[in-house]
């Protein structure tokens, strides 16, 4: 018994050693080969399919993978100490697969470039790098893929790349380093740092690629007059399973030759995040348009809701107030007030310098808007871009509550008032009102009126105050007087009497978005109470 188990144990151990050696051999072979082709340490790890944190310390990871760390690695790599670096020849040993993208030199250059840009102007905790890489880089990867297939045969797949693709590696390697050095967090919606990289040989290689493309895909080339060589095409079509090594070799070397020049950092362009600020506005004035009202190049009204809100909210997020888009859940006419809880709106602010809004700051903005005496905003808050769909559904589907001041030609009677108490919903057909017919198509739209409830002003029996709940998109003024019979039925046709509308207020919009937020801080609230 003891003997048997000892034998089994020995056997298992033996197998383990073999596997260990095999795996070891392969990694070592691979790395040795890559090194012979002038591939840098980081890219060696890419071909070893290293993951996230494993790129942090190249030597350590290589050791873990039982790969011998040799001089070449140290010389061409990040671990180089300043005194060892030859003063002028810092560029030597440019990696033949990443063209220096993962070198420390490049990191320093990139960092310096970012700091020299408008970076400091942005008050963002989150950043994202968007690097535009030359196509040469993709060709280098393909050449190495072919080379590895030749060297290691079937062990290298023809459909799936043998390395961690450059794009992914940028995320795994460059992103964490740059984020750490700038003390920022990564976020796809953060400040976008657009980095443009080019390579000296790019044009020349693209020319060759056009020829190769005709050669490799003759069928497509036959009917496509102009072949667009794109990064996407390279990614999708250029794999050993689709392009023969021999065809490729007619134009490019396998493995790729060493290069003299590293990638060149051509430009850094910053694009702040798109920030959405939502709230609800109320409108007190009957002489204020929704957006600037311009006719024949002349302003008809001095100010607008849009401008008042942007004026007070915008500067916190951007210098370019003209780039801000104002959206709201519907709109009211110039002479209509918007009361109650107000109308939901959103400001879309592109290239924002900051993406947060403190309650204190929001409250100050709300107070500043109040000083206009015409518009008031509440519930001011930064919202996710995905929530913007809410405002559009609010525009089209939600119930709207109105209060209309209407005038009869004669004093009201109980009979008339009774006819205007309609608790159940009814449908109307409404033609495009004449007042907008010159710029909108002629349609007859069915609309639902949910309820009508009329009251009379005390001491003024011709003046009715009618509360109307309608489907969004109903023209209320026309619903009241019927507009020469173009809206039917109308309150006028229901009564069989002339009735006109003198004033209108929006008193509610049935959209519970954005969420209610009380921006007045407790301390400030206390202060007002004392006053």
């Amino acid at each position: 018994m003891v003997l048997v188990s000892a034998r089994t144990a020995l056997h298992v151990l033996f197998i383990k050693i073999i596997v260990f050696i095999k795996k070891n051999m392969k990694n070592q072979d691979l790395v040795d080969y890559l090194r012979s082709c002038g591939v840098c340490g980081v890219c060696q790890l890419r071909y070893l399919k290293a993951r996230g944190s494993e790129y942090k310390d190249v030597k350590e990871t290589l050791r873990k993978l039982d790969v011998e760390v040799n001089e070449i690695v140290e010389n061409g790599e990040a671990a180089i100490s300043p005194e060892d670096r030859p003063a002028k020849k810092a560029r030597r040993g440019i990696c033949s697969t990443c063209l220096g993208l993962f070198s420390e030199d490049f990191q320093m250059e990139l960092l310096a470039g970012i700091l020299a840009s408008d970076f400091a102007k942005y008050d963002c905790q989150k950043i994202v790098l968007a690097i535009c890489l030359p196509m040469s880089l993709q060709l280098k990867q393909l050449a190495m893929w072919f080379a590895l297939q030749r060297k290691f045969g079937a062990a290298v797949d023809g459909n799936n790349p043998p390395d961690v693709p450059i794009k992914e590696a940028v995320k795994l390697i460059l992103h964490p380093i740059i984020c750490e050095k700038l003390s920022k967090e990564y976020d796809a919606n953060g400040l976008m740092i657009n980095i443009d990289l080019t390579h000296k040989l790019e044009d020349e290689e693209v020319e060759k690629l056009v020829k190769l493309n005709k050669d490799a895909f003759p069928a497509k080339a036959a009917y496509q007059k102009r072949i667009e060589i794109s990064r996407g095409l390279l990614e999708k079509q250029y794999q050993p399973s689709k392009v023969k090594a021999e065809t490729f070799e007619k134009y490019f070397e396998i493995p790729c030759s060493t290069v003299e020049e590293p990638l060149k950092l051509t430009s850094i362009d910053l694009q702040g995040p798109l920030v959405c600020v939502a709230g609800r506005y109320r409108k007190l004035s009957r002489e204020l348009s929704h957006t600037p009202w311009v006719m024949n190049g002349q302003r008809l009204m001095e100010d607008s809701i849009e401008e008042i809100i942007i004026r007070h909210v915008g500067p916190h997020f951007t210098e370019r107030l003209d780039k801000i888009t104002f959206m709201s859940s519907g709109r009211e006419d110039v002479d209509v007030r918007c009361l109650g809880k107000g109308r939901p709106f959103v400001l879309e602010i592109p290239n924002a310098i900051r993406s947060c809004l403190s309650k204190e700051k929001a409250y100050k903005m709300e107070q500043a808007v109040d000083t206009s005496g015409k518009v008031s905003v509440l519930n001011l808050q930064v919202v996710a871009r995905e929530d913007l769909t809410q405002i559009k559904t609010g525009e089209e589907q939600k119930k709207k509550f109105y209060r209309a001041l209407c005038a009869l030609k004669e004093p009201v009677s109980v009979e008339i008032l009774s006819k205007l108490q309609i608790p159940q919903s009814f449908d109307i057909q409404q033609k495009t009102p004449i007042r907008v017919l010159h710029r909108r198509p002629l349609h007859t739209r069915p609309r639902t009126i949910y309820s009508v409830k009329a009251k009379v002003q005390r001491g003024n029996p011709k003046a009715l105050v009618i509360d109307i709940v309608t489907q969004a998109g109903t023209y209320i003024k026309e619903l009241v007087h019927g507009e020469f019979g173009r809206t039917t039925p109308s309150l006028s046709s229901i009564l069989g009497k002339h009735i006109d509308i003198q004033a209108l207020d929006v008193v509610g919009i049935d959209l519970e978005w954005p969420p209610e937020v009380d921006n007045s801080t407790p301390t400030e609230e206390g202060a007002t109470n004392i006053r």
Binding site: K374, I434, R439, R458, N460, H481, G485, Q502
Partner: protein
């Protein structure tokens, strides 16, 4: 019994709810009530007139250049009683007009003299209602076909025959070609005088002339 409980309107009185916006108390909607509030036509339209011979038509010109073609209040048919309204004017049926999109594509292009509709009166007279202006036909009021009598009762504007959209660049010329309210009244006076002269000189009276005194009453009311 108190006066209050006697008031049948008591359950219907409007109560304003207080609300503060921008630090101001929101005024009740009833504050805006105006006893002499102008009508829809007065608010948004300018009245113009077009004569076809001695027969007057009205063009309600909206500030956005949309035009409503109506009978002038002194149109003889109104006194004779309207019998039928027909948009099928023989060679073409105006009620078949279809417009598409913002540009009202496909709308019939009409000249001022183009016949818009045919109108017959209870006395058997037929009037060719002219388009009055040059423009694109947007909409015809087919309700008049079913109930021609509406024309006699409807408030101003509601008895429109059609909605036309003139070209922006033609608007000045069109307005100049039409009569303003003042010019219209002036013209009516001249026609009246002319007719009364004929009446004096000529004893033969046709049906139209018997209606004249009525018309004069109307004009006096208008002015």
């Amino acid at each position: 019994m108190s006066v209050q409980s006697d008031d049948p309107l008591e359950p219907f009185y409007f109560e304003h709810e207080d609300q503060v916006i921008c630090g101001q108390s929101v005024s009740p909607i009833t504050d805006g009530f105006q006893e002499d509030y102008p009508s829809v036509v007065d608010r948004f339209f300018t009245r113009y007139y077009y004569f076809k011979g001695d027969v007057p038509y009205q063009v309600l010109y909206h500030s956005n250049r949309i035009c409503l073609v109506c009978l002038a209040p002194d149109h003889p048919a109104l006194c004779q009683g309207i019998s039928t309204v027909n948009f099928d004017i023989g060679n073409v049926d105006r009620s078949q007009n279809v417009v598409k999109g913002k540009g009202k594509k496909g709308g019939m292009i009409l000249q001022a003299e183009s016949t818009l509709a045919l109108l017959t009166t209870d006395t058997g007279e037929t009037f060719k209602v002219p388009s009055c202006i040059r423009g694109k036909l947007v909409e015809v009021n087919t309700a008049l076909v079913q109930e021609p009598k509406l024309l006699e009762q409807l408030p101003e504007g509601a008895g429109f025959f059609a909605i036309l959209l003139p070209k922006i660049e033609n608007c000045d010329a069109i307005k100049a070609s039409l009569l303003t309210q003042e010019q219209y009244e002036e013209r009516l006076k001249i026609i009246k005088e002319k007719k009364s002269k004929i009446e004096i000189s000529d004893d033969k009276q046709d049906s139209l002339r018997t209606e004249e005194p009525l018309q004069i009453v109307q004009i006096n009311l208008e002015t």
